[in-house]
Each structure stands twice: as structure tokens, then as C-alpha cells.
Symmetry: C2
């Protein structure tokens, strides 16, 4: 892979009431709030066909994560044995890409409202994909 | 995001009998073969705790994809209406990150054998995560 090909270009950013990673839910289904995905004007065509009620996977870049961590105590529980990050959903990992399954609540121009997103305010968004078996193709 | 922080560093590469994206299954459950993930020696610690039978999400960099495509005919069916790529699983998209749910068949040193991977031989691997509700944490 050339450097040019492996450079991520954010397609947008998360706007959320969550600002502190330490106090944010670890998973969306653990009480995360609604949030906006504010997309770059240049990618809006890529939203064609998405509708409220659709379930999508949001990929984010967890910009506050550490990339040099290979083992963690799962769920930040110091009593839990260390485990390799590929067996956990820790944000700290060589390529800190976040994977969030959410439901679209509303689409307003370049803003997509979603339910149950645990990513904090300001998190760059990399991609949206349909959840398979949920009307996507 | 600084350029340094957004540069992806592959953690490994796919070794698969699939070599032609055009003839590969579109999804793993559509008849994809077993394949190896050959990991970089520097990340092996991050595998600690993963076992055969675990279901994981493999994130890949779809290095042959086009990044300037925003709308496609779903499933390459020219008769299907154009749709935004964020509503499809098309490889072509601004950040061509592949998302593959697979089962681990075997772990042998730096090689992880997985079932049902539709990514072609030579595809860079970015991350592994447990499928939630499948024994991960």
C-alpha cells in the first residue's frame, strides 16, 4: 500500500453530548444518547437511498486512542486478566477504528441523526454501511 | 487529525485462494472459502485469548477499490437503480474499509485460519474485533 492509498479521509464528524471518553458508555446499547453525524458536503450523494429506521454500521477513527497498546484489562477492570486487544473492543489498538451499529432517526441535509452512538463529540467518521439483512444491498 | 495519526498501518495480510475480485463472492456467507490472516510479528501479543470457534470481525483495506465513487448499481446489477455507496456494501467508497464477520478455525503462530472470508489474496488487514455477544469483552 502506498502512503497515498492508506491515508484516511474523514467523511464527517460526530456531534454528541458525550465529551469525556472515560464516562461514555463502552457500547452503544449501554445507554448511549442520540448524536448527529455531520457529513462533508462532498460526500452527500453517497447517502442516496438511506432512510430513517435503517440500521447502519458507522466506522469512526478513535482519535484519542493509543496505537501502541497490544494488551488491556477488558472493560478497564484492573482485576480482569490482561487480554490481547484483538479479542476486545478496546479503543486502544494498532488501527483505532471504531465500529458502531446504530439506527438512523432522521436525515437533514448533511446531518444524519442516529440512536445509540457511544463515540464522543468530535470523533472523525470514516464510513457508513448498511447492516446486512436490514434492507441494505 | 494530523496526517501521522490517520495513516493506516496494516497488521497483516490475507492469504486466500481467491485472487479475482470480480469472481469472488460479494459476502462471506455466499460461498467464500477458508483463508489465512498472516499477521505482522509485532502485533502477535494482541491475539492473546482468541481461540478456534470465536467469531470475529475482520477489518481490511480494499486496496483495489475506487475512492471517488459515491453511487453504484447495487451488486453490480446494471438494471438496479443507482444508490449511494453508504447504503451498500460496495468496495468502492471514500474510505474502502472492508468489514467481514468470520469464524476462527485455527491459530498457528502468526497465522489465523478463518472461515467464510470473501477478501482476495493480498488484501491488507487492519484490525480484528470480537463479535459482541460471542464471548468477546
Amino acid at each position: 500500500m502506498s502512503a497515498e492509498r492508506t491515508r484516511l479521509v474523514p467523511i464527517g464528524v460526530v456531534a454528541s453530548p458525550l465529551t469525556d471518553p472515560a464516562s461514555a458508555p463502552k457500547q452503544g446499547f449501554e445507554g448511549a444518547p442520540e448524536a448527529w453525524l455531520v457529513l462533508e458536503p462532498g460526500v452527500l450523494e453517497a447517502l442516496d437511498g438511506l432512510r430513517p429506521g435503517d440500521r447502519i454500521v458507522v466506522l469512526t477513527w478513535l482519535h484519542r486512542a493509543r496505537r501502541d497498546v497490544l494488551r488491556v484489562h477488558p472493560r478497564d477492570d484492573a482485576a480482569a486478566p490482561l487480554r490481547g486487544v484483538f479479542g476486545t473492543r478496546s479503543a486502544d489498538r494498532p488501527n483505532p477504528i471504531g465500529l458502531h451499529e446504530v439506527e438512523i432517526v432522521a436525515l437533514e441535509g448533511r446531518r444524519v441523526r442516529v440512536r445509540d452512538l457511544e463515540a464522543v463529540d468530535g470523533t472523525p467518521v470514516l464510513d457508513l454501511k448498511p447492516v446486512l439483512g436490514s434492507g441494505g444491498s
